[in-house]
Symmetry: C2
Subunit: 452 residues, 2 copies
Amino acid sequence: MTRRRLHLNAFLMNTGHHEASWRLPESDPYAHVELDHYVRLARTAERGTFDSLFLADGPQLWSNLAQRPASALEPLTLLTALATATEHIGLIATASTSYNSPYNLARKFASLDIISGGRAGWNIVTTAGAEAARNFGLDAEPAHAERYARAAEFLDVALKLWDSWEDDAIVADKAAGVWGDDTKIHPPRHRGKYFGVEGALNVPRSPQGYPLLVQAGSSKDGKSFAARYAEAVFTAQQTLEDAQDFYADLKARTVAAGRNPDHIKVLPGIVPVIGSTEAEARANEQVLEDHIVYTHGVDRLEGLLQLPSGTLELDGQLPADLPPESSIEGAKSRYTLVVELARRERLTVRQLIGRLGGGRGHLTFTGTPEQVADAVEEWFTLGAADGFNIMPAVLPSGLETFVDHVVPLLRARGLLREEYGPRQTLRARYGLPRPANQHVSPAAGSPALARV
Amino acid sequence: MTRRRLHLNAFLMNTGHHEASWRLPESDPYAHVELDHYVRLARTAERGTFDSLFLADGPQLWSNLAQRPASALEPLTLLTALATATEHIGLIATASTSYNSPYNLARKFASLDIISGGRAGWNIVTTAGAEAARNFGLDAEPAHAERYARAAEFLDVALKLWDSWEDDAIVADKAAGVWGDDTKIHPPRHRGKYFGVEGALNVPRSPQGYPLLVQAGSSKDGKSFAARYAEAVFTAQQTLEDAQDFYADLKARTVAAGRNPDHIKVLPGIVPVIGSTEAEARANEQVLEDHIVYTHGVDRLEGLLQLPSGTLELDGQLPADLPPESSIEGAKSRYTLVVELARRERLTVRQLIGRLGGGRGHLTFTGTPEQVADAVEEWFTLGAADGFNIMPAVLPSGLETFVDHVVPLLRARGLLREEYGPRQTLRARYGLPRPANQHVSPAAGSPALARV
């Protein structure tokens, strides 16, 4: 049996995950539109033998322009460009089931999977927020449960589309003048509540069959969805105990959904802030906090908590009478995490904004490379994680520091591959089997159906 | 005044534009999913100092699998990969206004324009056919006029989105902690018949402002649309006289729409079939016709003419009582072109299929390099074309032959650039000004508004 190894994903975001990162002297405030910036990050992650890199997304302006970089290149477009600049690393794009149509999106992911040689992944999001909804003809955001119902139907249709060509549908018989075998094409003929999709995809089945399916919502609806569909899960957890609970719960739900719990990889997000001494790491963190514009932080926190503008005071606590998660139609699990963090540590609004500035609710690991490696190893070995979503506070420097100083320690401890070896698909990197086509019965000796 | 020069666009399609091209011994029947095939084609076109390359598209399986390669990578995805493999050539993707949403599509084109350094173009199509409609929840294709009404609103919204950031919206004031100037953001706040789009795009204004706008429908609705929006037009014309009429008509309509007629470039499609002698060229053409499977051709012709299956006989003429174009809801101008071609030349169904096999209604120029160059020069100088959409019957060989043998003649005659020179945007290659932002009044000395 091969040794269990960490899976590492590099979560790339403009100048870094800390909201004030763009203000540092080293940062390029135009990084969000610089292909070269992203090529450098992707190659750094590949030097660190990461499994994958990842881009978040939402189809709306990300904030007021005054606050911070509010834009990003469209993820599938950017990842296609990065596919040609890299060889091994997986490429995970966020795309919304609420604001796309299955035919177009399934085709784009199949195309990226073909162009990248089987390295595409899809972070499936339902997209919270009224701002996105209003860019797609709606007056308000659809209810949380409605978004997830649409997402489930979207996935079912997308899987039908990706399986609409059997792997050997092209016969290429030049002499007979027969290019393909129409009996190996399976049109979805889908008529559901949200979508009608009659015909087969116009791209063949891709190297992975379909992209690695990734999910990141940790609400009850989100976890049910993940148990049914997801192969990797990004999650925000503030304590080892919470992370262990989440891990055990998600694996149990996956078993209950009839799937192998090893076929869903749990990757908590961490924000490493590294120094050659603990004091230097703390000082690096302080520099970032000193660059926060707190009035912007108050605006955003009021938005997240759905409070009227002007409710929060910087040196006060959160109001005692916040509504329960069940009444929130936006990002439910983020809401609860932030409220619990503030209550548990009795943080003022100012302190809470400082804590959220780094990772928007993800855990910050501040310390020396050894301390960060220790924390990673602890979570990995104590049943809290199959790997990590690495969210550097500042980019590119934070990723370079992690790769140059933490990765060698993880390799020395046998937790991370030394090199990639031969080219593999993203799904193979994550130790997952290639999914069988739902229209093909598994022949004796062929891999068992991974899902469906 | 600079000399008027030809604009050349390379229309890339799998193994070539002839329906039987995939059957030739030299052809790769998997070319449709091979990035390297397209990289080779793009670099060949760049060697020929073409202005641009172009991918057609429709969101449905392109034919029965038996007939011919029925699939294609999604164009924006493929062109993004080609952007990283080329330096100068424009990249024109087809995308449908009927089956996309403006926010997503405007963002993808802006992203490609940024990644490619201002080389993106959009071939705007309304997408004929019930098969596509049924992949997007509709039972039948929307009526022709309805599709064009939606297209016009789509363009208006897309232009608002591309202009929603002024060029200097990012101020990047690190000391003050102000990244951008919110007064330079102009949300569309659009509520129309087909679309509601409230907010600004989440990508800055791109190098070209927006992609080069290309159009290819030659129906009355299509020409009205082109006169209003298009900067380049692809068209199928079978005779010099028809091409001159179309050219004059479109330029006049453009003037009537209040635009400069030099700001719309007319590019008829031609299928060059080249040999070192005229006899060799004819023999090359005959080899292709010999590979046509005529039963497939009958199926497709019956589909285009909206006739019941089994109506046409291979050695008979078209029926005398075909309906007028006005009753056709699909590809109107293609319908009329095919019917007129058959009538004018008294072609049997078999002969018609042979003629359409090469270019689906586009003109085939068969001959020596000199003869092809003569025909190109004649159309260009006699008011029939500003350039050509080059549609090689077989790829990659047909494009290589054109670049190696016809391009040097065009250069020697002073009709085509010798080299690209410094990097330019696609719009600059076509001799068009960068469009001003609709929210910014042109200051004294700045380029005049190109449109709007």
